[in-house]
């Protein structure tokens, strides 16, 4: 009998249920906070009992989508993953998710743990959960008020990884900073990356949001032969000779079909693995590639990967189509310069002008309180495609100003700080049968999703 553990788990779940009943949002953090107070080593105790061990996914962009893809592939392979599907990815959120998957006797109803974790929390999670596989998608500037500078974040992650004794580490070869994170560890490192020669452009097209442009070893500017997006590319250092590592899991061919999704051929399997995804954009192709590579390292079957990827439907707001009043609404979480630029590129790919856009910028702690980053996003690219831009969020005025300086005439923008009113304005702006593109920061996505639930267009995410 473990009375302390039973108390921790059941009290956490009681609080979680109460907060869902009261519709205080998803109740994803408080239960874990309480459980850890009662039993500080609860997560590692629970995870230790799982036969399938633990998988962690981290990175600035794509960790939620990548881990959700892996979860779906695991389920189709007959596993029961214990997973923080809604992306509460600090220690409290992970603990809440663990408690929620426990029965009354405080044992996990599952056989493998799969968590997306905040990049700054990775060292602590690694130490606690001793994962069999860690996946790192990319590292971009994001919420500098919270994470600090990129280089020091990489150093913390690196130090955390060096503390681990065994397991697989799956890294993005195209991100010059991420590619170095296996250095000095005893983990088995493998890489995924883009190998389709038709993707990307030459280095002259590098965006303002590109971050890791210098050799991490000698400080020399890296030579980029190709740039895929942000600082993802094929690169090398002319001074010390370091270059992009050999790729174990390449995307051999990629065809992007705008907001409709993409098709890719992934190497690392005999004859390659052909995948089709409804997730839009190059950044999502990377997520699919990472998930497929992770599945390979976990020993899962190719046909389960295909099914998992094709059958994948997204969770709230990370590229999700919904219907409202005869309009198609695409909700895309857009939370930092690199991510936002990719979303803009995807949304403008079909070259249809006259789009109705809804932009919402919040500055709560989870978004980052500093909104300066919007000046690093190439909103200029969005202007020629805009019919009307409805602007919302706690910093709507900053966003409106950004659009003004991007060249959008003021008569084409409309400020509605309330999410519900903003959404209804977007519905009025788009013609019947037309599309609305909602690009929103993290808490603004939650607020919009809540407004849509109240208007009856979607269910609350806590009901999923």
């Amino acid at each position: 009998m473990q009375p302390r553990r039973i108390l921790a788990v059941n009290l956490a779940n009681l609080i979680g249920r109460a907060s869902r009943l009261l519709e205080k949002g998803g109740g994803t953090t408080l239960p874990g906070r309480v459980a850890l107070k009662i039993m500080p080593d609860l997560p590692e105790r629970l995870v230790d009992e799982l036969e399938g061990g633990c998988v962690l996914v981290t990175g600035t962009n794509g960790k939620t989508t990548t881990s959700n893809l892996i979860a779906d592939i695991l389920r189709r392979s007959g596993f029961k993953p214990v997973h923080n599907r809604h992306g509460a990815n600090l220690i409290y959120g992970v603990t809440s998710a663990l408690a929620r998957d426990c029965g009354p006797s405080a044992r996990l109803r599952g056989d493998i743990a799969l968590f997306e974790v905040d990049e700054a929390t990775l060292p602590e999670m690694g130490r606690r959960l001793r994962p069999r596989l860690i996946v790192i998608t990319n590292l971009f500037r994001d919420q500098l008020d919270r994470y600090g500078e990129l280089e020091s974040l990489a150093e913390r992650i690196n130090a955390g990884l060096r503390m681990l004794e065994e397991g697989d580490l799956l890294l993005n070869a195209d991100d010059p900073l991420v590619a170095t994170l296996g250095e000095g560890t005893t983990l088995r490192v493998s890489y995924f990356g883009m190998e389709d020669g038709g993707v990307g452009s030459d280095a002259t097209a590098m965006q303002h949001a590109a971050d890791s442009k210098f050799c991490r070893y000698c400080g020399e500017p890296l030579e980029f032969k190709r740039v895929f997006y942000g600082h993802m590319g094929v690169y090398g250092c002319l001074r010390c000779g370091r270059s992009r590592p050999a790729v174990d899991f390449p995307a051999l061919a990629l065809s992007l079909r705008g907001v409709e999704g993409s098709e890719l051929l992934v190497g690392g399997w005999n004859g390659g693995l052909s995948l089709r995804t409804r997730l839009p954009g190059l950044y999502n192709a990377y997520n699919v590639l990472a998930a497929a590579a992770a599945a390979r390292l976990l020993g899962l079957e190719a046909d389960k990967v295909t099914e998992g990827v094709e059958g994948y439907s997204t969770v709230f707001g990370r590229a999700e189509w919904i219907e409202a009043e005869g309009r198609r609404v695409l909700l895309i979480l857009s939370k930092n310069p690199a991510g936002f630029n990719e979303v803009i590129r995807t949304v403008t790919e079909d070259a249809e002008s006259g789009k109705t856009l809804l932009l919402a910028l919040n500055d709560l702690t989870a978004d980052g309180r500093d909104v300066s980053w919007i000046w690093d996003v190439d909103f200029e690219e969005l202007v020629p495609f805009s019919r009307e831009v409805i602007i919302s969020g706690t910093r709507a005025e900053d966003m409106a100003l950004r659009m003004k300086y991007a060249g959008l005439p003021e008569e084409k923008m409309r400020l509605e700080s309330d999410p519900k009113r903003a959404f209804l304005a977007a519905v009025r702006s788009a013609p019947p049968g037309g599309a609305i593109y909602a690009l929103t920061t993290y808490t603004a996505t939650l607020a919009l999703r809540k407004a849509l639930a109240e208007l009856g267009y979607v269910r609350g995410y806590w009901e999923e």
Binding site: H208, S372, W375, A396, R402
Partner: protein, 250 residues
């Protein structure tokens, strides 16, 4: 007189741009264009030597530690002399955060390492143990009526001003130069230094115009800038003030 041209030199654009500081360049460019003034922007990075007589306005933003070291080195070896010469001849400067620090006398890090500056500002900076992070509201002290500056600071350096500098503004919310004397920013001749990101100029359009006016006057004498409709800028400014007030103590 023909069309006026404002010649801007954007220093280390790819190295010193960590918190959207290029928004300042966007603001300067647009506010010139809207008035029929041509803004010519030259990007100068490592190893490029500026012609001190060519530019009316130099801009430098903030950077990460490693980038800042590279820039420090380049300022000492390649650009420092020319920039000091331009400053002495009346060229305008706007330097944000890390750029502000490197244009002072020196930056001594928390670990005791010293990065020499180029002394355009009579100011020096010492690294602190904690970072000052948050919204800032400050009251302008540099003449021209009572105005406020809004922005977002994120720095560990504590900057002190020498007798040849004067502070730009008195901090109402936030920390400013060092969190102790209540001052934010610095002015030496036509050089402005500040910790404020945000970006600074779009939300403080009167400062953008003051800088444009000063920079143009070098080549064209006293110029009167055409009035622009800044109602959206003023709304964003007011919203930032409200947001900062709401966060106070929280």
């Amino acid at each position: 007189m023909g069309r006026m041209v404002l010649r801007i030199c954007h220093l280390y654009p790819e190295l010193m741009n960590i918190y959207g500081d290029r928004g300042n360049i966007i603001a300067l460019k647009r506010r010139c264009e809207w008035r029929g003034i041509e803004a010519e922007i030259s990007l100068l990075s490592l190893e490029d030597k500026p012609d001190p007589r060519l530019y009316d306005l130099f801009f430098i933003g903030g950077g990460q530690d490693r980038e800042q070291e590279m820039v420090c080195h380049d300022l000492q070896k390649v650009k420092g002399e020319a920039l000091r010469e331009a400053h002495a001849a009346g060229a305008c400067f706007l330097a944000i955060c890390g750029g502000y620090q490197l244009l002072g006398h020196y930056f001594r890090t928390w670990k005791g390492e010293v990065l020499p500056g180029i002394g355009i500002f009579d100011a020096w900076t010492v690294g602190g143990e904690t970072r000052f992070i948050g919204n800032v509201v400050a009251e302008w002290e540099d003449g021209g009526g009572r105005r406020t500056l809004v922005g977002f600071e994120n720095h560990s350096g504590r900057t002190r001003l020498g007798p040849h500098s004067r502070p730009l503004a008195r901090v109402k919310v936030g920390h400013g130069n060092n969190g102790e004397d209540g001052w934010e920013g610095c002015r030496c001749g036509n050089a402005f230094g500040t910790y404020l990101h945000g970006s600074l100029l779009p939300k403080n359009p009167w400062l953008a115009d003051e800088i444009i006016r000063l920079a143009l006057s070098r080549r064209y004498g006293e110029v009167e800038l055409e009035h622009l409709d800044d109602s959206l800028e003023e709304r964003a400014h007011a919203a930032a003030v409200r947001r900062a007030a709401g966060k106070r103590g929280g």
